[in-house]
Amino acid sequence: MPYDIKVNGAIRTVDVDGDTPLLWVLRDVLGMTGTKFGCGMALCGACTVHMDGNPIRSCITSVDSVASAAITTIEAIGDTPAGKRIQKAWLDREVVQCGYCQSGQIMSASALLAGNPHPSDADIDDAMSGNICRCGTYVRIREAIKQAAQSS
């Protein structure tokens, strides 16, 4: 049956089974490929998006569970104050290598910063350890989050 979901401020209608993970609705149905597939089991964080501002793993979030919540993806996170600062810090600190996991990293970091303007190292560990980076950019992610926090 069709579902109406709110993505980056727009209502989108999708006709898929209700148990279809939001990840595939975004990527394959709506063509928003910035959100990435990594594991399908909420083990790597590549698919992280925001639901009403909270970071969720879209690979295990069924479309029928979204209801009227506002979904924000990497394509629009730069429109939020925290997301904008995080993206700038990512560029300033040259965080990115292959870049595939970075959409998810940026979504997790933006949610952290929005809720906690001055995170400690332990806060960063808690918020970011669900996001795997195979290129090992962790040192720079930590520095970039701290830079973004200082600029807030």
């Binding site: 089974d17 394509e75 730069g78 560029l91 040259e94 990115v96 292959c98 595939y100 795997i132 040192v139």
Partner: protein
């Protein structure tokens, strides 16, 4: 948007850049970098003359195209997979072409072995940390030749001496008369000039870009979701497929019950192959749901009972018999007989999966008269050839669009994913994107080989090594991937890091026994041969220092009088790490030193071992001499990256077989290092103007023995088998 995705095929080879290359000459490269593969050193460089091309554009070689409108397009012969090559390669060209990085656009090179083969490999591929080594001379020459021609064109227009003109920021200027012309306005004239055979390259002291921490060109699109990886392509009408391959390598499909799968909303088609079944659907959610609903019976074939233990036993037995002699210095038998002390050890390293964050995928549209492929690959010509063979088409009917790579590490040097996708696409009407689940990606990888090494050494009365023997057994990836590279039982990759050591060892003997494991495919994996050789060599050197009751750094240092660059990085790393300063109980420092990929590197790891056996790497200090650091920030990034990759392998990495099946499935059973486990990493770069060495992999091979040597320092336990077994450290 700096990255263009041109239609790229051999079929479309009549493009402007190609015409000018028809009469190119093959020059002998003088850029012989140490280490790595050097199978062929001829490389395509400027032809005798460039031809006028459409719209007045100027394409003096296969790497540079300057349009009449002023656009400067650089075609990248090496692919970007995170290592920064789409910044460092443009830096080489831009340095000599005299343009700013902000002025260039990049294109992925199409498959074309003649134009874009890696001169150090002889094939069009990005691997073995040799892009910058391979590009160092030819791509600077490419830029210099183009600049020389643009200056000549301007000088001719103005009727002045070319020596009185200079190039700067995409313009030619004539200071005495104040005239200037943009490259675009000179393109048509420059295209009519002969390509100079010899051009002078800049002196290092005149570099403006090389040696600076230039910003990466691929970063902006990677922080806002607009970067297009292979998995992101969406040709019109594309369907999404996922698949189940025989859980035992070499097995076959016996039967498929697809009744339930066909009822899943969005499922369009079930494709049955000899050894795999695919579900084609409107989206990956439906494809995965359909796959789960399939009932597949497998014929497991000859490897149904295979276990990792069987393979280890075979390797162990193989090291009891002589192998091919990789290097012999002096007379180890005689030296062993006279040694005061003998030390013996056997080391083992496991199979490893690549686990790139972007799971394996490939999009294919098979038509009656051709085949179009979208993929991110380290070896685009290999993909084209494999697809042509699978589809039964001539090479020029296969178009390959290359893309950004979401992690390569050697996995995407292989064409197995493209072959599989073509097989599926042959049964599908229209384009189909084949996406592997993470479970398929880990269970049907092509793995870093299992290796087993048997070593012995003799020490003199002072404890210094007078004899070194090493015989190791394992798969030769080169023998399959690049057969001409395997000769007389040896290949340069399997032995790199085991021979040509930096240490003065008067009697030295290394043998390699090639053993191909049954029932599990092997492939290159970040840091390739050195991924085990450096672990083994640097662990054993540590054992010798311990047997001699000497400090691990001082012992190594005493053997380095003839290799000053190695000695310098060892001393630098030790000094910066505070080597010798006291540490708490169960905390230790370990050191490792290597010269591989033409780069000298030393690392000191500081490791804490809990009473329950948990190992935490707290701090890593790395000193590196990679010659000219083309982009020092990328050098730092690659070391940070390589260190994390290596610690992941040392602490967590192991692929095992049981009943012929890979036991690991996803990131719960094949674990990656995470933020909370990541150490502080310091990088110290030695400044010099030597030719550049490779940086993509060196950090990985060096950290592994640094960690296990630190564990020894912390606990007194010598670990000779990876990954680290915490149970032995309680």
């Amino acid at each position: 948007m700096i990255l263009d995705h041109p239609a790229s095929s051999t079929a479309g080879a009549a493009s402007s850049s190609r015409k000018g290359l028809s009469r190119r000459t093959l020059l002998q490269a003088s850029a012989a970098a140490g280490g790595g593969l050097m199978l062929r050193l001829s490389l395509p460089l400027p032809g005798r003359e460039a031809e006028a091309t459409n719209a007045g554009s100027f394409a003096p070689n296969a790497f540079i195209r300057i349009g009449g409108e002023g656009q400067i397009v650089l075609t990248m012969p090496y692919v970007e997979m995170g290592q920064g090559t789409y910044t460092s390669i443009p830096m080489l060209i831009a340095e000599e072409l005299e343009v700013d990085l902000s002025q260039v656009r990049l294109e992925h090179a199409p498959p074309d072995e003649k134009l874009y083969a890696n001169p150090l490999l002889g094939v069009q591929a990005t691997g073995n940390s040799n892009a910058i080594r391979a590009a160092w001379q030819p791509l600077r020459q490419a830029g210099a030749a183009a600049r020389t021609m643009l200056i000549a064109a301007a000088a001719k227009q103005w009727n002045v001496d070319p020596a009185s003109c200079r190039a700067q920021r995409g313009e030619v200027r004539h200071e005495p008369t104040g005239r200037s012309a943009r490259y675009g306005d000179l393109a048509a004239d420059a295209a009519r000039l002969p390509v100079p055979a010899n051009v002078a390259l800049k002196r290092p002291q005149d570099f403006k870009l090389i040696g600076t921490p230039a910003k990466r060109l691929d970063t902006p699109m990677k922080v806002n979701g607009t970067a297009v990886y292979g998995i992101d392509v969406r040709p019109p009408g594309v369907k999404i497929a996922t698949l189940a391959q025989s859980p035992v390598f070499g097995g076959r499909v016996k039967s498929v019950d697809d009744a339930a799968a066909k009822t899943v909303k969005g499922v369009r088609q079930i494709v049955r192959l000899d050894d795999a079944v695919a579900v084609v659907a409107d989206h990956m959610g439906a494809a995965k749901k359909g796959l789960a609903a399939l009932k597949i019976e497998w014929d497991d074939g000859p490897h149904a009972k295979l276990s990792t233990r069987d393979i280890a036993v075979e390797l162990e037995q193989a090291t009891l018999k002589p192998g091919a002699v990789a290097q012999n210095i002096g007379d180890t038998a005689n030296a062993m007989a006279q040694a005061a002390t003998r030390v013996e050890a056997t080391y083992q390293v496991p199979f490893l999966a690549h686990a790139t964050m972007e799971p394996m995928n490939c999009t294919v549209h098979v038509r009656k008269d051709g085949c179009e492929i979208w993929v991110g690959t380290q070896a685009v010509a290999r993909v084209q050839a494999a697809a042509a063979k699978t589809a039964g088409l001539p090479l020029d009917k296969v178009t390959v669009h290359n893309h950004l790579i979401g992690g390569g590490f050697g996995r995407r040097l292989e064409a197995d994913g493209a072959i599989r996708a073509v097989q599926i696409a042959q049964q599908v009407d229209g384009p189909v994107k084949v996406v592997w689940t993470r479970e398929e990606d880990i269970q049907h990888d092509m793995y870093r080989p299992y290796w087993l090494d048997r070593l012995s050494a003799g020490l003199d009365a002072k404890g210094m090594p007078v004899a070194w023997n090493n015989r190791f057994a394992g798969s030769s990836v080169i023998a399959r991937w690049l057969p001409p590279g395997f000769k007389n039982g040896l290949d340069p990759d399997s032995t790199e890091g085991a021979i040509d050591l930096v240490y003065a060892l008067p009697n030295f003997h290394v043998e390699y026994v090639r053993v191909e494991p049954p029932g599990i495919p092997t492939a290159f994996w970040r840091s390739v041969g050195p991924s085990h050789n450096v672990f083994v060599t640097e662990s054993f050197m540590d054992e010798l220092a311990a047997a001699a009751k000497q400090d691990a750094v001082a012992y190594r240092r005493a053997l380095l009088d003839k290799t000053p660059r190695a000695k310098a990085v060892l001393e630098l790393a030790a000094e910066k790490a505070g080597w010798g300063q006291p540490l708490p109980e169960r905390v230790g420092r370990g050191v490792a030193l290597q010269f591989v990929f033409a780069t000298y590197m030393a690392q000191v790891a500081e490791v804490e071992v809990s009473k329950d056996g948990t190992v935490r790497v707290r701090r890593v200090v790395c000193a590196v001499d990679c010659g000219t650091a083309v982009n020092p920030d990328t050098v730092r990034a690659q070391i940070q990256s390589g260190v994390i990759f290596g610690i992941t392998a040392a602490l967590h990495g192991e692929i095992t077989l049981k009943d012929g099946r890979v036991e690991q499935t996803n990131f719960d059973t094949y674990q990656m290092l995470r933020m909370n486990e990541a150490p502080a990493i310091e990088v110290h770069i030695v400044q010099n103007t030597e030719p550049p060495g490779g940086m993509g992999e060196a950090g990985t091979s060096c950290i592994v023995p640094a960690v296990t040597n630190a564990i020894f320092a912390a606990t007194g336990k010598r670990l000779r088998k990876l990954p680290v077994d915490g149970a032995q450290l309680k």
